[in-house]
C-alpha cells in the first residue's frame, strides 16, 4: 500500500469533506504569501491602477525635478494669484509661486510623512501585538490595556496636543517631517497592535505550532517560521490602508497650521494658504487638493484589493 502509484490512483476515490481540489494538483504553484496574493491581484485593474498611481507619486517624491524645472521657492509677488496659463499650468499662488512646481515638490513631504509614520506604527504596533499575542498571560493583559489607553485618544486631538507642545525645529525640513510622523505614529500604532495580536493568537493555536513545540523548537523559531508568515496578511492590509489615512492626517494637521511648517513645501500647507481665496481663485486650492485625494485614494484602493487577495476564506 505504500507505493506512490497506488496512492495516486486512490486519490481520485477520495472525497472527504474539506478535501480541497487537490486531486489534480498544479505542480509548483506557490503557497507563499506573495504567491497567494499574486494569483488574485494580477487580474485586477484596481490593483494595477493604484500601483501605477503610487509609482508615479513615489517617483515624484524622490525626483520632483523630473516633472518640473521651475523652482518651487522662486516666487514673485507680482504674479500673485494669477490663473493657470501656458507658462504656469496650475497658475500662481498668493506669494506668486508656481502652483504646479509646488504641487510636484509637495509630494515628497506627504509621502515621507506617510512612509515614516507607517513604518514607526508598524514596528511598534506589530512588535507589541506579536509579543502580547504570543506570550499571553499578564504581559498580554498589560500591553492590551496600554493599547486601549492609546486607542482612546482621538488621533487628531492627540496629535494637536503633541505637536503644539514640541517646538518646531527651525531650519531642518527633515526634522519637521519626522516630528509630524512621530506624532501620528504614536497615536496610530494601537490599531496595528490589535490586528497583529489577534492574528498571532489565531495562528498560535494551530496544530503545526504545537508540533513545532513538541519538537523542542525555541520561541524565536516558532515566531519566525510559523507565526510571522501566517499572521502577516492582516497586518500588511491594515498597514497599506492606514498609509493613505496618515497622509490625509498630515495634510489636516498642516492645514490647521500645526503640522508641517513653511518653508517645507506640502499639499496641506498649500491648501491652508489657498483656503482664504477659494471664492476668487479656487485653482490654488484645487490642484494640491486633487493630488492629495488621489494619493490617499490610491493607498486605500491598494489596501482594499490586497485585503481581498489575502482573505483567508478565499484561499
Amino acid at each position: 500500500m505504500s507505493e506512490p502509484d497506488n496512492v495516486a490512483a486512490l486519490e481520485k476515490v477520495e472525497g472527504a469533506p474539506g478535501t480541497p481540489s487537490s486531486a489534480v494538483p498544479e505542480v509548483g504553484r506557490s503557497r507563499t504569501l506573495g504567491g497567494d496574493a499574486w494569483e488574485t491581484l494580477r487580474g485586477s485593474w484596481v490593483f494595477w491602477g493604484s500601483l501605477i498611481l503610487i509609482g508615479v507619486l513615489v517617483v515624484m517624491a524622490i525626483w520632483p525635478g523630473l516633472f518640473t524645472s521651475v523652482d518651487p521657492r522662486a516666487c514673485d509677488a507680482a504674479r500673485s494669484r494669477q490663473e493657470p496659463s501656458g507658462a504656469a499650468w496650475f497658475g500662481y499662488d498668493v506669494q506668486g509661486c508656481d502652483v504646479y512646481a509646488r504641487t510636484m515638490y509637495g509630494a515628497r513631504a506627504s509621502m515621507m510623512v506617510g512612509g515614516l509614520s507607517t513604518l514607526m506604527a508598524l514596528l511598534l504596533g506589530a512588535g507589541m501585538g506579536i509579543y502580547a499575542g504570543f506570550y499571553g498571560g499578564w504581559i498580554d493583559i498589560l500591553l492590551s490595556r496600554v493599547t486601549d489607553i492609546f486607542i482612546g485618544i482621538p488621533i487628531l486631538l492627540g496629535s494637536i496636543i503633541i505637536l503644539s507642545s514640541i517646538p518646531t525645529p527651525p531650519d531642518s525640513d527633515f526634522l519637521n517631517v519626522l516630528k509630524v510622523s512621530l506624532a501620528i505614529a504614536v497615536l496610530a500604532w494601537p490599531s496595528t497592535a490589535r490586528v497583529a495580536r489577534s492574528a498571532v493568537i489565531q495562528v498560535k493555536q494551530a496544530d503545526f505550532v504545537a508540533a513545532s513545540r513538541a519538537l523542542g523548537a525555541s520561541r524565536g523559531w516558532m515566531i519566525r517560521k510559523h507565526i510571522l508568515p501566517n499572521a502577516a496578511a492582516p497586518v500588511i492590509v491594515i498597514t497599506t490602508i492606514s498609509l493613505g489615512g496618515y497622509i490625509g492626517a498630515e495634510a489636516t494637521l498642516s492645514f490647521l497650521g500645526i503640522g508641517l511648517q513653511p518653508p517645507v513645501v506640502s499639499w496641506g500647507i498649500a491648501i491652508n494658504d489657498a483656503a482664504a481665496y477659494i471664492r476668487n481663485t479656487p485653482h490654488m486650492l484645487f490642484f494640491p487638493a486633487i493630488f492629495l485625494s488621489l494619493t490617499v485614494l490610491a493607498f486605500i484602493a491598494l489596501g482594499d484589493v490586497v485585503r481581498e487577495a489575502l482573505d483567508p476564506k478565499a484561499m
Binding site: 478535501t19 496544530d207 513538541a214
Partner: protein, 351 residues
C-alpha cells in the same frame, strides 16, 4: 475499513524488555477560576486523574473512550505539550516531568506525535520538504546538514510519498497524503515512541485503512512503540497489542487486545463494545446492546468512589464509598471495578 484479516504485528516479548515509557499517577487538573478582578480558583476539571501506563518497546497501546474522557489531554501530557499537575513520566529511565531546557529538548527526540487534523497540523506556508526537515533543523546534531535533503527524500518514500513532490505545498495534497507528511515529520528524528492522537478520524474511510496499515508497517520495520488514541473500536482492535479503556480521566480497563475485546471485565467496556454496529443485517436490533443512561458526569465534579457508578447497572453502596483500583481480573486484564466480569451484584440497590 480496517478489517481483521491482516492481524497486528506479533506482540513483542513484553515481559523481558524494560518499558520505553513509564507513566505513574499522572494527573492533569485544569483550574476553574471565577471573579472579576482577582480570580480565585473555584474548582478543577479533572481531565486526567491518576493514569498509570507502561509502554514496552515495539508495542501498540490503543486508548479508547468517549469524547471528553481525557484521551487527548493524556496525549498532550505524554508529549510534553501540557504540564502535569502531579505524577511522573519516565522516558527510558529519564524523568520528563519538571525537565527543562536542553534536557527536555533531548528527550523530545524520542517521543513524537501525529495530530488528528492533517489540515491544521501542517504549516500552509511551508513546502513539504521544509515541513519534514523542520525536526532536523531544530535538532541540528541529528543529521549533518549536507545529508538533510537526502534524509527528507528517504522519509518521504518511507511513508509512501513521491520524493519528487518535495517542493510542493501541503494544500496540494489530499487528506491521506497530508497525514503521511505528518507521519514523516514524526519519524524524522527516529523516535522510540509515536503518539497518534486520532490520526485517522479526520480521514475518509477509504483512506483510513491505508494510513493505519502504513503505521503498522512502519512499526514492523522500525520497531517503534505506538500509543494509538481513537474512538473507533474496530480501528483500535486492528492495530493494537494492548488496549486501555478510559472513562472520565481514568483508565478503567487495561489488557491485551483479545482479553479486552473478547471478555470485557469492566461494565463500561462491555457497554462500549456492545455499541459497535453489527455488520450482519439479520442480527441488527437483536444483539444485546447495552444502552447507558444519562450523560457522563462533569469532570469538574466527578462522583465519589467509582466514577462510572452513576451509569452502572451493577452499582452498589460500596461503589459510592470505595474507589476501585486497577486489579487483575479473571480474564488476565486489569479492571477498576468492584464487580468485574460476570460477578453478580445484588440487584436491589441502584445509585
Amino acid at each position: 475499513m480496517a478489517s481483521a484479516e491482516t492481524p497486528a504485528a506479533p506482540a513483542p516479548d513484553t515481559a523481558a524488555a524494560d518499558p520505553i515509557m513509564n507513566v505513574k499517577g499522572l494527573v492533569k487538573h485544569f483550574p476553574l477560576r471565577s471573579g472579576v478582578v482577582i480570580k480565585r480558583q473555584v474548582g478543577a476539571v479533572q481531565a486526567v486523574d491518576g493514569v498509570d501506563l507502561q509502554v514496552r518497546p515495539g508495542e501498540t497501546i490503543g486508548v479508547v473512550g468517549e469524547s471528553g474522557c481525557g484521551k487527548s489531554t493524556l496525549a498532550k501530557l505524554l508529549i510534553g505539550l501540557e504540564t502535569p499537575t502531579a505524577g511522573s513520566i519516565s522516558l527510558t529511565g529519564r524523568e520528563m516531568v519538571g525537565a527543562s531546557g536542553g534536557k527536555l529538548k533531548a528527550m523530545r527526540r524520542d517521543v513524537q506525535m501525529i495530530f488528528q487534523d492533517p489540515y491544521t497540523s501542517l504549516n500552509p506556508r511551508m513546502t513539504v520538504g521544509d515541513i519534514i526537515a523542520e525536526p532536523l533543523e531544530i535538532h541540528p546534531d541529528a543529521v549533518p546538514k549536507a545529508q538533510r535533503t537526502e534524509r527528507v527524500r528517504e522519509l518521504m518514500s518511507l511513508v509512501g510519498l513521491s520524493p519528487e513532490h518535495i517542493d510542493r505545498y501541503a494544500h496540494q495534497f489530499s487528506g491521506g497524503q497530508r497525514q503521511r507528511i505528518g507521519i514523516a515529520r514524526g519519524l524524522a528524528l527516529n523516535p522510540k515512541l509515536l503518539i497518534c492522537d486520532e490520526p485517522v478520524s479526520a480521514l475518509d474511510v477509504s483512506v483510513q485503512a491505508q494510513v493505519i496499515n502504513l503505521l503498522q508497517d512502519l512499526q514492523n520495520r522500525l520497531g517503534i512503540s505506538l500509543i494509538f488514541i481513537a474512538h473507533d473500536l474496530s480501528v483500535v482492535r486492528h492495530i493494537s497489542h494492548r488496549v486501555a479503556v478510559m472513562y472520565l480521566g481514568r483508565i478503567v480497563e487495561l489488557g491485551d487486545k483479545e482479553q479486552v475485546y473478547n471478555n470485557p471485565q469492566h461494565p463500561y467496556t462491555k457497554a462500549l463494545l456492545s455499541a459497535v454496529p453489527n455488520p450482519d443485517p439479520a442480527m441488527r436490533g437483536k444483539g444485546n446492546q447495552i444502552v447507558l443512561e444519562g450523560d457522563p458526569p462533569s469532570p469538574a465534579n466527578p462522583p465519589s468512589g467509582c466514577r462510572f457508578r452513576t451509569r452502572c447497572w451493577k452499582a452498589q453502596a460500596k461503589c459510592a464509598e470505595v474507589d476501585p483500583g486497577l486489579e487483575l481480573t479473571s480474564s488476565g486484564a486489569r479492571a477498576a471495578c468492584h464487580f468485574p466480569g460476570d460477578t453478580p451484584s445484588q440487584p436491589e440497590v441502584a445509585a
